[in-house]
Subunit: 386 residues, 2 copies
């Protein structure tokens, strides 16, 4: 029996890692669950595919924010991990993850200071740049710290960040080559708008056009005598497209380890539903109110699921039952016909609309082997968006 | 003045708090900011209004999840705090917060065990119930622990959780009165669907009809000789409506301390925009890429803002500039006409679409006094949705 003092301390210490014990039925809900068999199958499939295609594999950690998962990916053959932000990268590095590529630019004094700190601890780290002044700032900071920073030029091959491919990028490469404390590692070429193009053929055309600009830019840079070893990009949606484009040296998919409804909807090479990878990630809830025969309320709402997509979570094992948002902490279940077939206290499990922002709501993930909780992995970089 | 016990509890809750120092321009972004003057004005206005109307004030902590804020509300005259979930309540109690009302039912063995633990430490805590079997389970658990639990009957006056008002609720009250280890504290009557009804008059009619059912149920219960001291409900949208309904004894608004776009849109008693309370909560971002003259990319996306509402964040001080979602970590700014007037490294601050789920993304809140960071308050119950 805990004393009052140990209880207070425990309650306050925000269970960064709940004990691994018990079964699905005993977990406090809402809980984030990982099906270990499905996760391992996803990981093995992607690693085998990229090995066969002769491409390096640097999965994006913004999806999972979990050092344990990044380490497992390294063990499966990944050359490192991508990180979206410096705070995310710091958490991964502290968790033993090597080969980091920062996919967003280090803008501002605080970020540059932290980038230098990370490069000191992990000299192989690469940082994305898309602006000449920022390159000079990084060069100056690296000089002051007596370091040499590896830079990847972020290309605007999608519609978000980056410098125009072609001449503008080549000019930035020449600046990097000229400065003493930075070194060109390659091109960061993520076509954010290709990942979720619906229909495999449409997605293939779209991604090929985007990545062709990256490959061409690399050629342009190397023609001027500057080495540009890396062209990195791609997503779970385009892994089997980009891995067949000459000149794309490595892929950085993230979501394939978990999958979500959003990716299921884009269609696969073999059909209308994308099923190359298994749905390994779920949110477990409990029915906490039955206000009528026709409705049941579960204990997960806006704070337990991503809400950036227009479609709600889907029940995993309850055919004909639909979830509707019912506020910050609640969801409402109804059946296509007649009473909703659940009772107070029943557990209802959901596939999530979008995996990345869902994971970012939880401090840890329960790793399930069938009904048993095999482990609890802390999501150390949760909330680390800085 | 905190007692030694509440002080110890607060000390135990000792945050992993970033140091309070520096200015707005130096903060790592994305950052959650609180304008202290606006927050204090909001708090004083609500407290004064409810005092004048003779209603108790038990603000909902699901909005802020921050013991420091709950303690300030208590100091301003609140009788306690509402909590949506047991894990949220535990974090508040550990932070020295008293007078807790759990607004969701304690369904399941884990929740009942924790409810008993909380009641032992804070005997004044009230727990919501809407089901006879759950009442019996709580009674049994309380008996085994030699405690008497305070129960509030959760009424279905909205469209979410609760038991039907009138006869079904009165029957549940009789069960509670009959059992030895539970006691009726009153009625939890939250009309979730009233809070955001657009237009003051429409909202007034809606909320009056909903709350009338609660007041009538209380009369029915008391007619059978059972004391039912409390009728608690209301929201930031209905505070000046429900506080004028005879028989509503206390209000539990949450969002008024922060405000958000969603509440601004519902209209006030004096106009089309609801401005009874000031927008005290913002998210600060940094421009990290300018892919073209017509667009700028900031470092906040789905992981830095609530996304459950169909409208995006609004810039605080950049007239004519619009934010559009650009993924998990990015937002895109464009101007109504011509180039977007920001440069790399510029700070851009946003009013959030919906305050509660936005706060739930951050570990701490920077408390601003003008440009200076006055304090950093840990959001101890962040992610505590269990």
């Amino acid at each position: 029996m805990p004393t009052r003092r140990t209880f207070l301390a425990a309650a306050a210490a925000a269970p960064i890692a709940p004990k691994a014990a018990g079964t699905r039925g005993e977990l406090p809900t809402p809980a984030l669950l990982l099906d270990l068999d499905a996760f391992n199958a996803n990981l093995d499939k992607m690693a085998a595919h990229l090995k066969k295609q002769g491409r390096a594999f640097r999965p994006h950690a913004k999806t999972h924010k979990c050092p344990e998962i990044a380490r497992r990916l390294l063990k499966a053959g990944a050359v490192g991990a991508c990180a979206a932000k410096i705070s995310e990268a710091e958490a991964l590095a502290a968790g033993g993850v090597t080969g980091l590529l920062l996919t967003s630019a280090m803008i501002g004094r605080d970020r540059i200071r932290r980038a230098i700190g990370l490069a000191r601890r992990r000299p192989e780290t690469m940082f994305s740049v898309d602006d000449a002044r920022n390159v000079r700032d990084l060069n100056d900071a690296a000089g002051a710290a007596r370091l040499k920073l590896n830079l990847a030029i972020d290309l605007l091959v999608g519609n978000r960040t980056g410098i125009e491919p072609g001449a503008p990028a080549a000019e930035l490469a020449r600046l990097i080559a000229k400065l003493p404390n930075v070194k060109l590692a390659g091109l960061q070429a993520y076509a954010n708008n290709a990942a979720h193009v619906i229909g495999f053929e449409a997605r293939r055309s779209f991604s090929r056009a985007a990545m062709a600009r990256a490959v061409e830019t690399r050629r342009l840079i190397e023609k001027s005598g500057i080495a540009c070893p890396l062209v990195t990009g791609g997503s779970t949606g385009t892994y089997n497209i980009d891995s067949q484009i000459d000149g794309v040296t490595e892929l950085q998919p993230g979501s394939f380890i978990f999958m979500d409804i959003d990716y299921n909807r884009i269609g696969g090479a073999d059909g209308a539903v994308y099923r190359d990878f298994r749905n390994a990630l779920t949110v477990l809830t409990t029915v906490i109110s039955k206000p009528s025969k026709d409705a049941a309320i579960v204990d997960g709402g806006f704070k337990s699921f991503s809400t950036d997509k227009p479609f709600p979570p889907e029940t995993k094992n309850l055919a004909g039952v639909t979830y509707a948002w019912a506020g910050d902490e609640h969801g409402k279940l109804t059946a296509a016909q007649g009473p909703v077939p659940v009772e107070l206290g029943d557990r209802v499990e959901f596939i999530v609309p979008h995996c990345d922002p869902t994971v970012n709501l939880y401090d840890s993930i329960y790793v399930m082997k069938g009904e048993a909780v095999e482990a609890v992995w802390p999501i150390t970089a949760r909330g680390k968006s800085q």
